[in-house]
């Protein structure tokens, strides 16, 4: 097992804030909009540097999506910022008609996704957003795994034409990816090569997959770990190549097991390479209040759950 270490923990939303500032410096057409959550989205540095390119919309997310769509018509590249719940479910029809169907170059940037938002509870913890967004034709869906990857992804989506959903989170987590990485949309990252089982993880679950891989190695199980940061378009070649080698797969995501990364993988494998699969995901449930760690444990999203799923799926593959 390849060794991954970290010297600091940071939140992925801060990676977004840093990436937004960088994207703004690179391209004068980049503009930002926020629905009264500037601090939470870490947009302060961009606003300080480019006050005339920032639009405070107030608590009016539908209007924010529409204004962003309109800004593209003058050649702007708008980044909207609010919590994941208010970025997707609240404004689904606005995104569908004014952004996706109209092919507008809007970047929908969503913080506080998933359970790790914590104490605010289920009203704010959306676990359905990947599903909502990936069903929209033409929408790119990205869920980066740490500060560095989120920063790189933010810069990359500014250079990509088309609507994008960028999903990140609130808690501080290990920073373990390369600070100078080039982010390639739609390209899987091989975290660790292995032969016994393929573990595919996205977002906050990637570090947990690495922890699980280390423990599995101690048990004599050689896990291949793949980071799918771009859920759509899916790097199908990378997934098929790996599962062809290992014969089984565990998918890991901080999302409902319905509609998420796991289902995208299952759809691919069922037609191309039917293989045993286990899902480490929320089991069709809302969340609740609690600390991020408590919630990840209660809802079955810890490294131990990945280990157990790997053991189970390997047994199924051997039958």
């Amino acid at each position: 097992m390849k060794k991954y270490t970290y010297t600091e923990k940071k939140d992925t939303r801060s990676g977004f804030g840093a990436g937004l500032l960088e994207a703004g410096k690179k391209n004068p057409e980049v503009v930002a909009l926020c629905a009264d959550l500037v601090g939470s989205l870490k947009m302060d540095a961009f606003i300080k540097e480019f006050p005339e390119r920032f639009f405070q919309i107030g608590i009016a997310e539908a209007n924010m999506i529409g204004i962003a769509a309109g800004l593209t018509i003058g050649g702007k590249i708008p980044f909207t910022g609010t919590f994941a719940n208010f970025s997707t479910g609240r404004v689904y029809d606005q995104i569908r008609q004014s952004v996706a169907y109209s092919d507008k170059n809007v970047k929908i940037c969503a913080s506080h996704a998933g359970l790790t938002l914590g104490e605010d509870g289920a009203t704010h913890q959306i676990l359905e957003d990947i599903g909502l967004m990936k069903m929209l034709p033409g929408m790119t869906v990205i869920n980066p795994c740490d500060y560095n990857q989120t920063k790189a992804a933010t810069i990359a989506i500014a250079e990509h034409h088309g609507p994008v959903y960028l999903r990140f989170g609130r808690p501080v987590i290990p920073v373990f990816t390369d600070p100078d990485q080039k982010f390639e949309i739609g390209k899987a990252w091989m975290v660790n090569e292995g032969t016994d089982v393929t573990i595919i993880a996205t977002g906050h679950m990637v570090w947990k997959a690495i922890e699980a891989g280390e423990k599995l190695a101690e048990m004599g199980i050689d896990a291949e770990i793949i980071n799918i940061h771009t859920i759509k378009p899916l790097d199908e070649a990378a997934v098929l190549k790996s599962v062809k080698k290992t014969g089984c797969v565990v998918t890991c995501e901080e999302h409902n097991k319905f509609g998420g990364l796991g289902e995208s993988i299952a759809r691919l494998l069922s037609t191309e390479l039917p293989s045993p699969q286990e899902f480490v995901a929320v089991n069709d449930s809302f969340g609740e209040s609690g600390t991020p760690d408590q919630l990840m444990t209660k809802y079955g999203l810890d490294s131990i759950n990945i280990i157990e799923a790997a053991q189970k799926v390997i047994k199924r593959a051997k039958k």
């Binding site: 503009v31 005339e52 390119r53 639009f55 919309i57 107030g58 009016a60 539908a62 209007n63 924010m64 999506i65 529409g66 204004i67 962003a68 769509a69 309109g70 800004l71 593209t72 018509i73 003058g74 050649g75 702007k76 708008p78 029809d93 606005q94 569908r96 008609q97 004014s98 169907y101 109209s102 092919d103 507008k104």
Partner: protein, 281 residues
Amino acid sequence: MKHTIKELEDIASQVRRDIVRMVHGCQSGHPGGSLGCADFFTALYFEVMNHSTDFTMDGKGEDLFFLSNGHISPVFYSVLARSGYFDISELATFRKLNSRLQGHPTTHEGLPGIRIASGSLGQGMSVAIGAALAKKLNKDHSVVYSLHGDGELQEGQNWEAIMYAPFNKVDNLISSVDYNGQQIDGPTEKVLSLENLQAKFEAFGWHVINSDGNDMDSIVKALHYAKSLLGKGKPILNLMSTQMGAGVDFMMGSHKWHGVAPNDEQLALALAQLPSTLKDY
């Protein structure tokens, strides 16, 4: 004036012919609101707007128009074709398979002149505001226009936009409301009354003007007056009284022709009231 009022009225008559023929041709669509707004669209595209039929999505350096109540697509398509965005023969494909003239306007099929999809109501004002903000960033002094149904104002997103625009001094925007008092289920007064729309917009900080949307002289004057009010810190709202079905006597004054196509006999009756001034498509 690029045209006399009589010339504009003649164009509007042809547009009305197009509308009833298009809706008849596919036996679906929305003639009522389309007929009611024929004069407004004609005034806008043939007289008031500075626009180019060499279509670019960005529309830099030209005035832009956004239709929020997308179901009145027949009038939009007719005026776009008649002003040169695409050939009038394409009007015959309205709402048919493989057409660029979808039931509701869309950018998806690449029809020149359309910059946003609309149909799901209430979204157009936000888009128009965004386009107006982009013009300000680009130091582009042209104007953004939008049109909204009155019943459409029951959608909440409108009021987010109506609140945003004056507070942020979006003063390069002229929004018009098709104030015909009708919606699918009946008069707006009975379905969900809009009460005093002028007072509501004024309370939100808009400069409101009134016009008769079925009197060419009134609508042209109102739009020119609206332009003279731009750049003074307020968005402009043109509260435009219209009659649903205007120009075809048996379609007027009722919500019943909101979304119903005429049969052959009704088409003949309608066309008899609408002189052909340009060639039929």
